[in-house]
Symmetry: C2
Subunit: 254 residues, 2 copies
């Protein structure tokens, strides 16, 4: 059985302008790997309706799961929900459950806050959407088809992801093993490492140089779904590293 696949859409001018450092890709990629839904692509796209609509339609046809972050707040540039309704060809309308949830939330504030038009936008969703609970700040995300729409604020996104994760049909978890060696250079090991990769096409071997003030080294990482095979491959890599006169240290460098 092959694993399901995923694509992440990071929606927001602020990431493309360099104002905001994305902090969601790494979290989502890691968590998806753990539940056996490898992330195959991520795109950062602007708050432009045609771009959001066409991108959502392209990737939802291509991948098992699509996740989006950003653009579901109350302001004028929060257009993700509308665009996704358009992509699915369904009305963008008040969602009764979200509406009730948010009306109650603003009423219960001390002093009560107005559930105004801007806040009502956050309870307006594509028809047929299922809510993703938001334990941090109430305004929910939603699921429609294979598209999972989450907030862009990392703390809220992470909480939403953990809410939706139990409902995902994952595959075999992707595991990883690493070894590193100080003083080693990629150019020294590349050929031998390539030979090991060629012998184990079912394992994904990566080579990542690292740099410290007083020098550097290379970390070698094997990823795959067969734990015993990963152990064998990382042992083979360690032997190879040692054969070149370097000291293989298990794990990633500190």
């Amino acid at each position: 059985m092959t694993n399901p696949t995923a694509c992440l859409l990071i929606i927001g001018n602020e990431v493309l302008s360099g104002r905001t450092q994305d902090a969601n890709l790494k979290f989502i990629a890691t968590r998806l790997g753990e539940i056996g839904i490898p992330l195959r692509e991520a795109r950062v796209i602007p708050d432009v309706p045609e771009v959001i609509v066409s991108t959502v339609n392209e990737v939802r046809a291509k991948y098992t799961y699509v996740f989006t972050t950003g653009g579901i707040g109350p302001t004028h540039d929060d257009i993700t929900a509308e665009c996704i309704a358009q992509a699915f060809g369904v009305p963008w309308e008040p969602h009764p459950e979200a509406w009730a949830l948010m009306a109650a939330h603003y009423a219960s504030r001390e002093p009560p806050a107005e559930f105004n038009a801007a806040r009502q936008r956050m309870a307006t969703m594509p028809r047929g959407a299922a809510l993703i609970r938001n334990p941090v700040s109430i305004a929910p995300g939603f699921i429609i088809g294979n598209v999972h729409v989450m907030a862009g604020v990392p703390r809220i996104m992470q909480a939403m992801f953990e809410e939706l994760a139990p409902g995902l049909r994952g595959g075999v978890p992707v595991q990883s093993r690493a070894v590193h060696a100080w003083g080693m250079q990629e150019g020294r090991i590349a050929e031998g490492l390539g030979a090991i990769q060629a012998r184990h096409p079912e394992v994904d071997i990566g080579s990542y140089p690292y740099y410290r003030e007083n020098g550097g080294g290379v970390a070698l990482v094997a990823k795959g779904t067969d734990a015993a095979m990963l152990d064998r491959v990382i042992a083979e890599i360690s032997d190879f590293v040692a054969s070149l006169g370097f000291t293989p240290v298990p794990g990633e460098p500190a």
Copy 2:
């Protein structure tokens, strides 16, 4: 005159698996904005030849400039240069200038290092490529057509970007002005802010909540190419914030 546009391709399984936090998008987006070449899209794609080839061909037709990071080292998963040769339909072959540069570099090491097959891969490029000098670790990047191929290691990528930047034909620099206010909530200001945005369609107004241990606020950012207009818009936003009883503070929050 409309500004030229740019797309960034971040090439590497390590970013999609969550192993590595991308640190290049923010730098490139910021620098491109400064030289008037707004970044319109970024994609993170895996080390899979068909994906790299088809993505490069799609985006180089769509944007004025394409930048890539990652996949130009000496190891088996460094396949960016080959794939870009394939995308352009030209041979992937030893680049005489890069070859001479790197041969001399390894010969001059103390003790001399071997310019082996793996290292020779880093001097093998699409025919017709122009080099991007690498003052950090010698192995150059390259330019072919409108595609600019850089290393994935941030320190090296940044040095390469500064080497190629003077050759880019930029447009009017994108500038930004910000104001923030503690205690403010997006839901309070969204409607008024939307009205200001509607009056100034040539300015891009963004609203970004921020969170601290003891509370939070909202930062409001205006971006555009007309400095005097940005000053007027940010003054208008500040007046609006003050009219709601919050204290507008110039700039982004600390």
